[in-house]
Amino acid sequence: MKLKYIYSLILCVFIMSCEDFVDEPQPQAEVGSEAVFSSPEGVRAFLTGTYRALRGFNDELANTTASNDDSEGYGSLMNTRTVVGNDFVQPAFQWMAFEYRYLARESSNSRKVNFVWNMAYEIINSMNLLIEGVEASGLSENQKEEFIAEARAIRGLMYFEAVKEYALPYAAGRDNVGIPIYLESASVASTGNPRKSVGEVYDVIRADLEYASANIPVERDFKWRINKAVADGILARVYLHMGLWSEAATAANSARTTYGAGLAPASYADGFDVLESPEWIWGLPFSADQTLYYGSFASFWDGTRYTPTIKANPTFVAEFSETDVRNLFTPIANDVLYDVEKFEANPDFGEDVVLMRVAEMYLIEAEGLARSGSEDAAAELLFELQSNRDPMFTTPSGNTGDALIEEILLERRKELYAEGLADFPDYRRLQMGWSRDASHPAAFRFALEPNDYRFFLLIPQAEIDANPAINEEDQNPNAPGDTWPAAK
């Protein structure tokens, strides 16, 4: 009989304290924010993670577990801006075909429309969080300044990339509708902000980058970090876009002189795949175990992995002399188009991606000088680049006025091709009309008016659906004759 009571006793022993039992499980691969902002190493790791997010951004809302090669990482923005112009042709229906055919911008649900928006704003929110965390931390003032400078450089860059795609260029008017502005991190209580004017957005961009330029260190531990040279380079792009010509020239000059190394023409044919390349001011690193696979930037250009389908337009190739180091085009058998050899893809998917080069700073500086009355200095700088790229280019063109500007813009196309900086982006920035020539299939021979609605992406439908401050009437124009909404 006693056994029965022993059994009851065992039962009691088993009853343990529920609270202790349930308290034990904790997240294993994550850390709390106290740990992040309590040391410089923590903040540095957060910045490092942000660069990683930038280089591999993959829209988590794509509603599928599969990644999409046309929308992965900051690098895919370059190809997006390349295939929409005239210098490159995408006859086959492959990745980027929706962009090439202007279908991606025509639907507010398209992957690309969401990708650019979501990438920019996710990074912006992360940087707001970082800035708030650093400000509230016990780090030294000096450290705080450096971290905030780097964070604001990234934030300013993201606003700049987004506003270019979703709003009219700055030169079309400060009061045009821009994009929402957030300078505080999102919390549980946050709701969406309305579309502010282009002018207000550029005020934020300028303030961020000017602060960064003034406070960020010159030195850096890795070439993928933003330092003073990179911040000035971004600022030069911003000024150029805004038509602040002499400021653009000054910033571009500062960027390349702070960086130090000059033009190295031999490196142009090296395949654009190594971060250490002397002409690279800034880039993003990849390795076999940290790669975007087929979504990698160079997958679109080099046949190592799959046959690239973006081809060079023969009318563009004709602009290059035989001896130009940048003439990296091979004619395709039985076709009028050319393969592009500029970018090399590694079999293991580990090639680095370029984001900013010395030559671009030459060109920004030249354009800034030319447009602010220093045509001689501009022509001299332009010739320095031209003769560097082509040993047979021994006589400056002697162009002045509009002809000089046109020569600089052509040089931008020749120097920066497929880097998402010239061609279409220049036409957009400068409010130019242009059209695709006969090298393109009939159905895609688009002709764009200045500020044509097709220069811009639609606001994502998901934003309109979720943001109480942005409604259907705040959508960008989507047909000839549609008008732009007003800023709020």
Partner: protein, 1046 residues
């Protein structure tokens, strides 16, 4: 000497007993007819027999003191002392007490009669009748209110199970699975259907609230078989059969038609840009557009008039369906042995199953074994063991989604224009040095037949045959329990269950064709260890006062622990193809691992009271503390009350003869749901903590990155369920059935409240307890034994459930996610898409409806869009994806040894967005793509009246709109079985065979659905609810088998 004496006594004893042994015979009847199958047993021994078809029996008894017991389900047991009789005829009386069998409920069993809650149960017969791999499918069409959707033809793929509608949006709507009393979170396909005695579905709160915080989506109790005291019974079943997809593929155009359609798209492109000779331009551009010429050569096979040029002969015409799908076989065999003595009973089962899938290379193979032991150790202490092991291996080629490797997508994307093997300029096969054809992955050098504009680089035939992705699952469950009875009314029980589920997924991507070509092949390994244990201690007190009052109180304490440990590795660089282990690869590409943990501590009490076996009342309360939530919001109390009243026992019912049984039930209670998921439907184990994620490294520099925004107040969602039910039996239980009506109000709905994308929060949403949802419905189940007493028996069953899902509260006026818009008063899955307005007869352009606004911005009318851009149109509510009704029929016919049974299920209402069909109707948008034959109806010239727009490279006619929305009502013949049991006199000659049955059966033989190519079973949840996703169809199977009882 002593020994000899002893032996003599034994000998003597044997003789004496042999002499005393004599034969008793007789007939068992009920209602005047012989009753077959009645167990006749000699009390205190294991000897016994069963009555034959006419109710006769014959049995050897040891002596006059022997007591015979006669028992049969549904009848009161009768005991007779033999005395000096040699013929004992017995009449059995129906036992209303024992009505139907016992029902497995939470933490115990109850008789059907005393049940106060809504529980649906299917028994062994219905389970074994169906040829399934995943036992979840046996519930389809058999239990009202349970919705089963299997969206894949991969054998063993887990169906989506919904009990009484969709009760959550961002928490799982899958029911809690409880195996032999302990929560089971592994894959259901590891459980062998032959081992299962019954499956109970707990639908209302009174039944489910005992599982507290995890029971809001209902509970499925799976109970394994136990041995019964008596002779050892050996049962062997084996069957073999064939299977193929249950629904045929969409009809596709042939190569010539496709090329002419491609030409026409180019012709329209040129014509629309003002080309003077569009026909010539189209011919010139054709091969550049599609990249291949199945007629050989570099000249367009289609002339400027759009016709095939004379003298063209096809060099190839690929049937990708034939190349990628297969007709498979199914084999299974099961041996089980059960029996026992008064003190120990056992059940042993061992089985093997092999089933091929629809896609080439896909299969499922499982070995499973179980041993269940129950022992009475002393008169007050008993113990038991439930032990099961199963090991399965499944080759699982991709068959849904957008991966290039998805064979189904391949068939629906790649047209017959493209060859499986490489072709030269003239269209002839290119051979490798060994003389074998070379797989074409669509990325080659050459002027033609080199670069494919579709799914490049890939070759699904190559990848499906060369690549491997194997799901190895190993599942072990061990449960041991000890039960003590004391002071006559107390029972204390402790039970410990340990489940270990191992998922091992080796993958191999070949180095010659496809995505791993440039890295020299890839070998990967994913491994998950899922360990869960449940410790349950309970104390039960049951007593009867004054004969009329029965009280039963259960106190229970439970601890649950789940640990999921994952590890994944991939390496690249193989010296040569065909090596499958990590050691063979040179370069480490990725490595990662994680661990998640969940713990729940619970206390529960349940009280039952029964007055005169006529009035029943039950109440329960459970307190759960879950590690998923922050300490301040992790405690939840869940309770239920219920009662039932057996009306037919009231004296005022005496005169109403046709009603043999009638019971009214009612219940109310609250249950919770803590299975919170992210937007990829992964479980979130710490959904209330704001954290930074590690692993965001830049090469070797460690990095962290901000995780999703969390609300620390988050807690479980609570569902309040009211249920009223009526159980009835008419005409002496000839017609039985039940009707249930319920409402289920889910509050504090865990909702991924969308945040403006521009807020930059990862996943663009935040999980919060906001909003409310109501599911209400009526469920009816009927069973009619049309003929039950004669040689011919026939019964029919039907069940039907009507459901309505309604959002009753939202945090904001409307929430649009993807193709659905949620508003108060709407359902969870209301389509909100553009409305198709047909084709403009003058231009052939696609049209959609759009709103016409007045000056103030109010909608004053509708007109059609004027450009081919879909974005001009406005979205409308286009119906819900949820069916309003579903159910099933089953019938069973028996004549002598023959049995015939059938099971049919159906679903009524609900819309399905057929995006697979959309892809086949894209027309000129994607060059070389597979096309549906419907495209032959396209608009061609001014004045054509058709619903298929013109072909060109830019029109968006195939955008998501009501054009691709289908009514998803369907019916399916789930099972039909014909069996023959050999007559007893034939088999009794063999001496040891008790029974032998042969059978043939067909599963999913017919699907009644008007849309060719579309399988109506797609998805009712998951990432893409209510729409297709290039999924493989489930299979139909025809099998033949034999069942032997020893």
């Amino acid at each position: 000497m002593k020994r000899i004496l002893l032996l003599s006594f034994v000998f003597l004893g044997l003789i004496t007993s042999a002499w005393a042994q004599r034969t008793i015979s007789g007939k068992v009847t009920a209602e005047g007819e012989g009753l077959p199958g009645v167990a006749v047993r000699i009390e205190g021994t294991t000897q016994g027999t069963v009555t034959d078809v006419d109710g006769n029996y014959r049995l050897e008894v040891p002596g006059n003191n022997a007591v015979l017991s006669f028992s049969f389900i549904g009848y009161a047991e009768k005991k007779v002392t033999v005395g000096n009789q040699s013929v004992i005829n017995v009449t059995l009386a129906e036992d209303v007490e024992q009505l139907s069998e016992v029902v497995v409920v939470a933490y115990g069993e109850q008789s059907q009669r005393s049940l106060t809650s809504a529980v649906g149960q299917i028994d062994e017969t219905l389970i074994r009748q169906q040829q399934v791999v995943d036992i979840g499918r046996t519930l389809q069409g058999t239990v009202p209110g349970v919705n089963i959707v299997t969206g894949s033809g991969q054998p063993g793929s887990t169906p989506q199970i919904r009990i009484r509608g969709i009760s959550s949006i961002n928490s799982s709507s899958e029911p809690l699975i409880v195996l032999d009393g302990a929560v089971y979170t592994g894959n259901l396909n590891t459980i062998d259907q032959n081992e299962i005695e019954s499956i109970s579905v707990l639908k209302d709160a009174a039944a489910a609230a005992l599982y507290g915080s995890r029971a809001a989506s209902g509970v499925i109790l799976i109970t394994s078989k136990k041995g019964k005291a008596g002779d050892t019974r050996i049962n062997f079943t084996a069957s073999s059969g064939f299977s193929e997809r249950a629904v045929d593929e969409y009809p596709f155009v042939n190569t010539e038609q496709n090329l002419r359609l491609e030409w026409e798209a180019l012709y329209n492109d040129a014509r629309l840009t003002g080309d003077a000779t569009p026909g010539q331009t189209a011919s010139d551009e054709l091969l550049g557009r599609i990249g291949y010429n199945p007629y050989g050569g570099l000249e367009s096979p289609i002339g400027p008039n759009g016709e095939l040029l004379p003298g063209q002969t096809l060099k190839w015409e690929t049937d990708w369906e034939d190349a990628l799908l297969q007709r498979g076989t199914r084999h299974d065999a099961n041996l089980n042995v059960s029996g026992g003595s008064d003190k120990v009973t056992y059940f042993f089962s061992g089985s093997y199953l092999k089933q091929d899938g629809v896609v080439i290379g896909s299969d499922f193979e499982r070995f499973a074994g179980r041993l269940n032991l129950d022992a009475e150790l002393t008169d007050w202490l008993s113990a038991g063991l439930r032990q099961s092991i199963s090991s399965s291996t499944s080759n699982f080629p991709q068959q849904s989604g957008t991966s290039f490797n998805n064979s189904v997508q391949y068939i629906r994307t790649l047209s017959s224009i493209y060859p499986i093997y490489r072709r030269d300029v003239d269209g002839n096969l290119i051979l490798d040095p060994a003389g074998n054809p070379i797989f074409d992955d669509g990325q080659n050098e050459g002027p033609i037949n080199a670069v494919r504009p579709v799914l490049q680089p890939s070759n699904a035939v190559a990848q499906t045959t060369l690549d491997r992705s194997v799901d190895n699952r190993f599942f072990n469950t061990t449960q041991a329990f000890l039960e003590a009875s004391f002071l006559d009314m107390f029972k204390a029980r402790t039970s410990f269950t340990l489940n270990r589920y191992t998922y091992d997924n080796p993958t191999y991507t070949n180095p010659t064709v496809g995505s791993a070509r440039t890295v020299g092949g890839r070998i990967g390994r994913n491994r998950d260890f899922r360990t869960e244990w449940t410790l349950t201690n309970s104390l039960n007190w049951a007593n009867t006062f004054n004969e009329d009052h029965k009280v039963d109180i259960l106190l229970l304490q439970e601890a649950y622990d789940l640990t999921i440990n994952t590890l994944n590795v991939s390496k690249t660089g193989l010296p040569f193809p065909g090596l499958y282990e990590l050691n063979s690869a040179a370069t480490l590409e990725a490595i990662g691992g994680a661990e998640n943990k969940e713990r729940i501590g619970s206390l529960m009490a349940r009280a039952q009271y029964d007055f005169r076996n006529k009035y029943f009342v039950q109440g329960s309360v459970r307190r759960d503390i879950s590690s998923r939530f922050a300490p301040e919001s992790r405690e939840g109390i869940f309770y239920s009350v219920s009662g039932s009243w057996v009306i037919s026992d009231e004296s005022f019912m005496d005169g109403i003869d046709f009603i043999s049984f009638m019971k009214l039930r009612g219940s109310y209670g609250e249950v919770g749901n803590s299975f919170i998921q992210d937007n990829q439907l992964n479980q979130v184990y710490f959904p209330a903590e704001n954290v930074f994620e590690t692993g965001w490294d830049q090469l070797s520099t460690p990095g962290i990155y901000v995780g999703p925004l969390r609300n620390t107040q988050l807690t479980w969602e609570t569902s309040a369920i009211t249920n009223v039910g009526l159980d009835f039996g008419f005409f002496r239980e000839k017609l039985t059935g039940s009707v249930d009506a319920y409402t289920k109000d889910t509050e504090g709905l865990i909702f991924a409240r969308p945040l403006s994308n521009s807020l930059g929060v990862r996943t663009n949403s935040i999980l919060e307890n906001v909003g409310s949802l109501r599911n209400k419905g009526i469920e009816v189940a009927l069973n009619y034994n049309i003929l039950r007493d004669g040689a011919l028996t026939w019964s029919v069953g039907a069940n039907m459930a009507f459901e309505r899902n309604e959002i009753t509260e939202l945090p904001q006026e409307e929430i649009i996610t993807g193709n659905f818009k949620r508003v108060e008063g709407g359902t969870v899955y209301d389509f909100f898409i553009r409305e198709w307005a047909g084709v403009a007869p003058s231009t052939g352009e696609p049209m959609w409806y759009r709103n016409v606004l007045d000056e103030a911005g109010n909608v004053v009318g509708r007109d059609t869009t004027t450009s081919q851009s879909v974005a001009q149109s406005d979205r409308i509510f286009a119906g819900t994806a949820l069916p309003w009704g579903r159910g099933g029929f089953n019938t069973r016919l028996g004549f002598k040894g023959l049995d015939l049974s059938a099971l049919f299920n159906f679903s009524l209402g609900g819309k399905l967005l057929d995006t697979d069909y959309l892809g086949l109707m894209e027309g000129g948008l994607r060059p070389g793509q597979q096309k549906h034959t419907d495209i032959l109806r396209r608009w061609q010239q001014e004045g054509d009246i058709t619903d298929v727009p013109r072909l060109n490279s830019t029109d968006q006619g195939a955008s998501i709109s009501t054009r691709f929305l289908r009514d998803a009502s369907y019916g399916r013949l789930r099972n039909i079985t014909l069996g023959y049991t050999l007559p007893e006199n034939l088999i009794s000659r063999s001496g040891f065979i008790r029974g032998l049955r042969v059978f043939v059966q067909g599963d999913n033989l017919f699907t009644f659905f008007p849309y060719e190519g579309l399988d109506p079973e797609q998805s009712i949840g998951g990432l893409l609810p209510g729409q297709t996703n290039n999924r493989s169809s489930i299979y139909k199977t025809v099998t033949a088998g034999i069942e032997i009882n020893l």
